[in-house]
């Protein structure tokens, strides 16, 4: 929830001279954020921009890829510049880097995926204030070499992405009974037979509050499996 707790958990890779490309430490940078240190369900960062776009899987995937892009390149840029960024304007520099990358993503989406870009509306812009990104810049990329930073970026963005896509899948399958893919059309997940027995799509799933409840359930499931994450009220 705060950056202090993050720093304690971070493996110190900066001082290790030569290590294999995918040492166990580096691998943990990729895999930790997927479960034990998940940005959304454990660190509680970056929920703001995440949930509103989980109505449809394709929107969620595009959003997730945008975040992966911004995190990956952002972490690399900050890590490359970490020794020359004047500490007094550090936060502003980080903000400028995120904002520029997000503008790039937004312009590219507008040019190549206009329909999805329209549906994502302001939420692409809100990647800027996605706390995960600034949080990782400050907590990791400012103090680590380029390669680990890149891995950390991908790891955290993927941790964010899978929750996003999982929520979107749950909402679209139960809300519309089918997932629509661009170019392929809709693929039905609920067999027609169900509808004959009186099954109905739950329209509530498409409405915003259900996103929160689905995340709540994901947290419940995750913490039942991984009991060390349970909070003391």
């Amino acid at each position: 929830m705060s950056t202090e707790t993050l720093e304690e958990k971070l493996p110190e890779v900066a001082e290790v001279p030569k290590e294999p490309l995918f040492s166990s430490k580096n691998k943990r940078l990729l895999t930790d954020p997927l479960d034990d240190d998940n940005p959304i369900t454990v660190q509680v960062l970056g929920i703001c921009s995440a949930l509103a776009i989980t109505v449809q899987v394709q929107q969620a995937v595009v959003m997730a890829l945008s975040v992966v892009f911004v995190m990956f390149f952002g972490n690399i840029i900050i890590s490359v510049l970490r020794d020359i960024i004047p500490s007094r304007i550090r936060i502003i520099v980080q903000l400028v880097v995120v904002a520029s990358l997000v503008i790039l993503v937004n312009e590219i989406l507008k040019a190549f995926l206009p329909d999805i870009s329209e549906r994502l509306s302001v939420f692409v812009g809100l990647i800027i204030t996605n706390c995960i990104i600034m949080g990782r810049f400050e907590a990791f990329a400012m103090g680590n070499k380029v390669f680990p930073s890149a891995l950390d970026g991908i790891g955290n963005a993927m941790g964010y992405a899978w929750i996003l896509v999982a929520v979107a899948i749950a909402r679209e399958v139960f809300g519309s009974g089918a997932i629509s893919f661009p170019g392929i059309g809709q693929i039905k997940f609920i067999p027609d037979g169900f509808f004959e027995f009186g099954y109905a799509n739950n329209n509530l799933m498409i409405l915003p509050p259900m996103a929160l409840i689905v995340v709540g359930i994901i947290i419940w499931v995750q913490r039942s499996r991984n009991t060390k994450l349970i909070e003391e009220n």
């Binding site: 960024i85 004047p86 500490s87 304007i89 520029s100 790039l104 312009e107 590219i108 507008k110 206009p114």
Partner: protein, 254 residues
Amino acid sequence: MAINKNSNAFTFTFAILMVIIVGATLSFAAISLKPRQVENAIQKEMISILSSVGVEANRDNASDLFYANIKERITLNHSGEVIANRQGKVDAQDADDPFNIDVQKEYRNPNMKPEDRSYPAYLAEVDGTELVVVPMVGKGLWGPIWGYVALKGDYNTIYGAVFSHKSETPGLGAEISEGFFQEPFEGKQIYDDSGNMVSVDVKKSGDTSSDPHAVDGITGGTITSVGVQEMMRRTFGVYDKYFQSKKANITELR
């Protein structure tokens, strides 16, 4: 040479360099992607116009279908006189091209009186039928609503109508963009028997299927329905003179 990273000079140089690099990169990206974005916006408008004349288009075939079906684009002033007309390809740079007139922007501009606005129309020919498409904008409950209404060659009977909205209530006002609201418009007439402009009312209740000048409103979406009605009456009011002159032409030819 050691650089003092905490000196003001270094901080300023860093900041200035950063601004220049970021500015240059972003401007380059924005400028090089702009044509595609403009193209996308044009395609989107073409798709809406085509759907009002019953032609289903997607982004790939929008411009082909548009040029095949829409013969001429004209702009009227507030008194219904033609002030510009264009044929052939849409030129995004040409501010007078009726296609480039942003009726929503003009409608929203508080400094622009109705008399100053431009009123574009599209003359179409679909499967041998002559049609005229009228774009319109108005106000719903929460934000702007807009639509395209296509009239048949008699400048009276509605051939098709599509409406859209920015932020109407889902399930209520937002239903104006659904087929069940738009389809009843087909076949309705905007002039009464004695040739007066009456537009089409959006009625709150009652059976409207036999009334040539009314359709059913949306239950619970009264303000949005009234908005559609107001938008059509106001817009057709401006085009009235143009339609009248065209109708006079038709009778003469007969």
